[in-house]
């Protein structure tokens, strides 16, 4: 642990970036050691918004604890709920009806798109371009409207419950998603002309924040960060859940290992998510959207684990049950935490501006890290 003020014994400047800082995406606290403009060390300090969610879950029932997880990674709250529901379903051996599964996947992919769009806008801000943020929000707003209509909320939806989904989709849902697909397809080129093709942006991204596949694995990185280093790790492919094995999509792998590769992975994933939505939208099977479950869920004694692919990477839920109404212990494996731990490796020796840009490409959501 380095001192938080003044200068280091070697005479380097120590700066606290955050918790209140425009580019820490919330309230991340980084203590960085600077030699001129060069970052010598960067150490994340967590705990500023710790809410002890895992401890809280121990006093909540198996239906209730799922709602708390929406407040962790609030940008992919659907997928968090899905991970928790899957664990409970696994323990109780509940079979989710086909319709429920397809709705879950549709919602999860819409959430992934919304999350990637927000990341794209925020990355623009991190490298000093403000305009992309507004362009990204224009499309994200449409997704939020769709969510609002079906789930009743725009951000923390709490729509996925053990056994399926809470209610059936809104009658307008399919039409609205179709409109969104048309809109998005007409706008995706705009993103490339505004940001991807920009020479300044490419210079800021290429060769910056390098992490090899081996290092990324050893730090426990998952999701787009690991895939940009050339390692296959998509849970939707490795251990399909909720019918992902039935849809056609590509796992995006880039071998650049740098910020630009991470950028490309997410941009291509946007298109893949869109293609998954297109495949499923007209093929939502008829039938029940929720399996019949008991009003009070009691998990059998034992340990249960399941994992899902959120927009940021692998999200794991580990429950130890003593057979009671509430979990005995619960542990979440959040993707942001491990991705953040690789930050100092990526930014050692880089410039201060690159620290911010690299942090942007990690797509950190602080409540996910500091739960």
């Amino acid at each position: 642990m380095i001192e938080e003020v003044g200068t280091s014994p070697e005479g380097d400047l120590i700066i606290n970036v955050g918790p209140q800082h425009p580019s820490t995406h919330g309230v991340l606290h980084l203590v960085i050691t600077l030699n001129g403009e060069t970052v010598k060390n960067c150490e994340p300090h967590l705990g500023y918004i710790h809410r002890s969610i895992e401890k809280m879950c121990e006093s909540l029932s198996y239906r209730q604890f799922i709602y708390v997880t929406s407040r962790m990674d609030y940008l992919s709250s659907h997928i968090n709920n899905q991970g928790c529901s899957l664990t409970v379903e696994k323990a109780l051996q509940i079979e989710v009806p086909e319709r429920g599964k397809v709705i879950r996947v549709l919602m999860a992919e819409l959430t992934r798109m919304a999350s990637h769009l927000l990341w794209w806008g925020a990355l623009g801000m991190d490298v000093g371009a403000f305009t992309p943020f507004f362009h990204a929000f224009r499309e994200r707003e449409v997704i939020n409207d769709i969510m609002e209509e079906t789930c009743g909320a725009r951000l923390t939806m709490n729509y996925i419950v053990p056994g399926g989904v809470m209610y059936d989709i809104h009658p307008n849902f399919q039409q609205k998603v179709k409109d969104f697909i048309t809109l998005f397809k007409s706008k995706i080129d705009e993103y490339d002309t505004l940001v991807t093709g920009n020479i300044i942006f490419q210079q800021r991204m290429k060769g910056v924040g390098y992490i090899s596949g081996e290092d990324a694995l050893s730090y426990g990185c998952t999701g787009p960060v690991l895939r940009a280093s050339g390692v296959k790790c998509d849970i939707r492919k490795i251990a399909p859940y909720d019918g992902y094995e039935k849809v056609q999509f590509e796992e995006i792998i880039e071998t650049g290992c740098d910020s630009y590769a991470r950028y490309l992975v997410r941009m291509k994933e946007l298109k893949q998510s869109l293609s998954i939505i297109e495949q499923l939208l007209d093929n939502i099977p008829e039938g029940e959207f929720q399996a019949k479950t008991k009003a009070v869920l009691k998990l059998p004694k034992g340990e249960f684990y399941s994992r899902v692919e959120t927009a940021r990477g692998e999200f794991g839920v580990y429950i130890i049950s003593e057979g009671g109404l509430t979990p005995y212990r619960i542990k979440f494996r959040s993707p942001g935490f491990s991705n953040l731990s690789a930050l100092h490796h990526m930014t050692k020796g880089s410039k201060l501006g690159d620290l911010v840009a690299t942090m942007g490409t990690l797509d950190l959501v602080i409540p996910d890290i500091d739960r």
Binding site: S23, G124, G128, T131
Partner: protein, 362 residues
């Protein structure tokens, strides 16, 4: 041609007839000073409003539209808010330098207004080394920024100020070389002579290739000199929160803010004067048929409109940069200057000299 020379002469004569020469001079100075302060305030208000509207247009927003007619009073309201706000000084700050810095930056911005010719006869000080004066005085503004960054006792401010120092000192070379290239053609440093030399066509057309290269270099260099995105290293919001003026609040912050916009106006005015003829209407060469008729028609548009039109078009260009480009990194910024702009600028100066000697320009 539309001219304000008569008006200024009448005032000058009336004052000299009523008072003795010294008092008349003093009164004239006061009048000019009041005009300069008014212009400073008006420019700040107009440009801040323009920036907000331009950015809103680029970002699919509406921009300010509530205060006053179509939001026109928004910046005035903002300024009022800043004036009545507490001017906070950090505990361990160097109080004297901390308070001096914003005024220094503002005074320099005002001094730069002196040789700008708004129209024929409307110029505060037509000194014979006008361009030299502009580039000399504008380089002093870096002291104000360094002072602010140093005195704030804040690490972000210090880094911002140091970056700004490196940046302004480097890019001044390119801006200077670009202007020098045009001085080769005009043969004079006096602003009025430079404008008069563009009677039969602006230098951007007459000087063809070297003029265009020099214009591009000049625009890049002055964008960097005024600390505007994509070269806003000194502020770099996502890295340094607000850079050198992190600790400033209230009116002292507003002075930095206004000075930035007035500086943008000045550099665009210089570009408009040197490359686009200042207040000079668009004239074409006499060799083209009906040229005289066309030139006469153009003369009906007042010089002030020509000048402000050209200047604001260039300001729009600089604002356009800000709202579309990401920021460069500090080493990329210095690379661009020392490895690309400066050598190209030097070569361009040689090219311009050769063309001027051979008389290949129009």
């Amino acid at each position: 041609m539309f001219s304000l020379e008569n008006l200024t002469h009448i005032i000058d004569h009336a004052l000299n007839n009523t008072f003795n020469a010294t008092i008349a001079m003093l009164i004239e100075m006061v009048i000019v000073g009041i005009c300069a302060i008014t212009l400073f305030a008006v420019l700040g208000l107009v440009l801040v409003f323009m920036e907000r509207k331009v950015s809103a247009y680029m970002q699919i927003r509406l921009g300010p539209n509530r205060v006053g007619y179509k939001g026109l009073a928004q910046t005035a309201a903002d300024t009022l808010k800043l004036v009545i706000k507490e001017g906070f000084t950090p505990d361990n700050a160097d109080k004297f330098l901390f308070n001096l810095a914003p005024f220094l930056v503002m005074i320099i911005a005002m001094m730069l207004l002196a040789p700008i010719a708004f129209t024929k006869g409307l110029q505060m000080w037509d000194l014979n080394i006008g361009v030299l004066y502009l580039s000399a005085v504008s380089s002093v503004s870096v002291i104000g920024i360094l002072m602010a960054g140093w005195a704030s006792n804040n690490k972000y401010s210090l880094i911002g100020a140091m970056r700004s120092g490196a940046q302004i000192v480097s890019y001044e070379l390119s801006a200077g070389l670009a202007v020098l290239t045009m001085i080769v053609f005009t043969g004079s440093l006096q602003i009025s002579t430079i404008i008069a030399s563009q009677q039969d066509g602006w230098w951007i057309f007459k000087g063809h290739i070297p003029a265009i290269i020099s214009f591009v270099i000049f625009i890049i260099a002055v964008t960097a000199e005024t600390n505007r995105a994509p070269f806003d290293m000194a502020e770099a919001e996502s890295e340094l929160t607000a850079g050198f003026h992190t600790e400033y609040s209230g009116m002292r912050f507003a002075l930095f803010f206004l000075a930035e916009y007035v500086n943008i106006f000045i550099v665009c005015a210089i570009a408009a004067t040197i490359y686009f003829g200042g207040w000079m209407p668009f004239h074409i060469s006499h060799s083209i048929p009906f040229a005289d008729l066309f030139n006469k028609g153009m003369d009906f548009i007042p010089g002030v409109l020509w000048f402000t039109g050209k200047t604001f078009a260039l300001i729009f260009l600089i604002m356009w940069f800000r709202w579309t480009f990401p920021r460069l990194r500090i080493d990329q910024l210095l690379n661009l200057e020392w490895k690309y702009l400066l050598p190209i600028g030097m070569f361009n100066l040689l090219l311009a000299t050769a063309i001027a000697i051979l008389g290949w320009y129009f």
